[in-house]
């Protein structure tokens, strides 16, 4: 969801399919090719041989500091995913409501851990389906004015 909101703020809504489909979808986020390659080579042991080339690509496209920052983000979310899956926490309700359509579109509801989050009632779903995009754009404008 934060990719959606942050990209709205930046002025160009990202194509979110890149989250689940990697390079098969152009998110419109600059540097996607190197960043996705770095993630996939880092997480997939069978592709670890691709890491040197991925590092070169990220550094060439985004710079050395960005490469280090990207590695840090990868480490961070290797941690956070295990906290979530290791404790059985559900999605926080506002996030669950705001992301219902997004999760459906990306097929995330098919993840095994999805059943930890209670289903959002029909009324709330419809409410956020209608108001969600407007709320996100408003959040982006408000953040821009900070």
């Amino acid at each position: 969801m934060m990719l959606r909101v942050s990209s709205e703020f930046a002025g160009t809504a990202a194509a979110l399919g890149a989250i689940t489909e990697g390079q098969n979808v152009d998110s419109g986020v600059p540097g996607q090719a190197g960043l996705i390659s770095l993630v996939e080579a880092s997480l997939d042991a069978d592709r670890s041989g691709e890491l040197p080339a991925a590092r070169v690509q990220v550094e060439a496209e985004l710079g050395a500091a960005a490469l280090v920052d990207a590695a840090a983000v990868i480490g961070n979310f290797e941690r956070m995913t295990r906290i979530a899956d290791g404790t059985g926490i559900p999605l926080d309700e506002p996030v669950a409501a705001m992301s219902a359509d997004l999760r459906e579109d990306l097929g995330i509801n098919g993840f095994g851990s999805a059943d930890r989050t209670p289903a959002i009632g029909w009324f709330k779903q419809q409410l956020f389906r209608l108001l969600g995009p407007m709320v996100i754009r408003r959040m982006a404008r408000q953040m821009n004015s900070d």
């Binding site: 934060m2 990719l3 909101v5 942050s6 990209s7 709205e8 703020f9 930046a10 990202a14 890149a18 989250i19 689940t20 986020v29 600059p30 540097g31 960043l35 996705i36 993630v39 996939e40 880092s42 997480l43 042991a45 670890s48 890491l51 590092r55 550094e59 985004l62 050395a64 500091a65 960005a66 280090v68 920052d69 990207a70 840090a72 983000v73 990868i74 480490g75 961070n76 979310f77 290797e78 941690r79 956070m80 995913t81 295990r82 906290i83 979530a84 899956d85 290791g86 404790t87 059985g88 926490i89 559900p90 999605l91 990306l106 995330i108 509801n109 993840f111 095994g112 851990s113 900070d146």
Partner: protein
């Protein structure tokens, strides 16, 4: 904690890229916390858990389980030298490292029934995830994994926040509005605590390690909800979030 000049860990002197000082400071803090007795585990156990995190990555049993339709289909012994950890403690670490998305509440109930109290499980989790994060950083940049610290002698504190309560997750958590003055720092600056921050709050030091690492590896937790913030990084916020989301998706993490 040792002074920066004297600390033998995370020197990065041979790194081809500049490594931010705040990353190094957070990693040194983690290593210091790792070596010390925790709430339920002694230092030697905590360091051995860190060692297991690394052993899990090349464990043949874990590889078979990951490939199997059910994580319970494969039985056997985990590879490596396990020190004084029990078989269940080793299994907990290996599953958290290699197949976390298929963990279930039933599994955790079995863990508790084996004699590992739930608070100790959360402490194991807090050590596992702290080491996973740093090791992933090193692996991504092609660095050798950092040498583990020497354990510090001493007994666990046995500290359990009185306000920790069941509900909403598989583990007890401390609600933000009930956190004690002693532990108030774990929710400092937060008007509302996301579940992923509260998740390890029954072991407050686990949250402290999380917030210390997260602030330099991602964002200060208080900045996460503001999509205009990028923590001063060289990546834009959309680039940060794309990277984060791809990691999460590859881990089949619904949250």
């Amino acid at each position: 904690m040792q002074s920066e000049a004297a600390a033998p860990y995370f020197s990065y002197s041979n790194s081809p890229w500049p490594i931010r000082a705040d990353l190094r400071e957070a990693f040194l803090y983690t290593w210091d916390m790792l070596a010390r007795p925790g709430s339920w585990l002694i230092g030697a156990e905590r360091v051995q858990i860190a060692r297991e995190v690394r052993q899990a990555r090349t464990c043949a049993l874990c590889a078979r389980r990951k490939a199997a339709l059910s994580p319970y289909a494969e039985q056997g012994t985990h590879d490596g030298d396990h020190g004084t950890l029990t078989d269940m403690q080793v299994d907990v670490v290996h599953r958290l490292v290699t197949d976390p998305s298929r963990l279930t509440e039933r599994w955790l109930t079995d863990v508790a029934a084996s004699g590992i109290r739930i608070e100790a499980y959360v402490e194991i989790l807090s050590v596992v995830v702290a080491v996973v994060a740093i090791d992933a950083f090193h692996r991504t940049l092609g660095f050798e994994l950092e040498t583990l610290p020497e354990p510090v002698a001493g007994e666990p504190t046995g500290y359990r926040p009185a306000a920790a309560e069941a509900g909403g997750a598989w583990v007890p958590m401390v609600p933000l509005e009930k956190v004690s003055a002693e532990d108030a720092d774990i929710y400092a600056g937060m008007g509302r605590a996301a579940n992923v921050i509260s998740a390890m709050s029954v072991v407050p030091d686990g949250v402290r390690m999380l917030r210390t690492q997260s602030a330099v590896m991602y964002l200060e937790v208080t900045d996460v909800a503001n999509a205009s913030r990028n923590g001063g990084r060289s990546l834009s916020r959309p680039q940060i979030e794309l990277t984060a989301a791809r990691v999460s998706a590859m881990n089949d993490c619904f949250y």
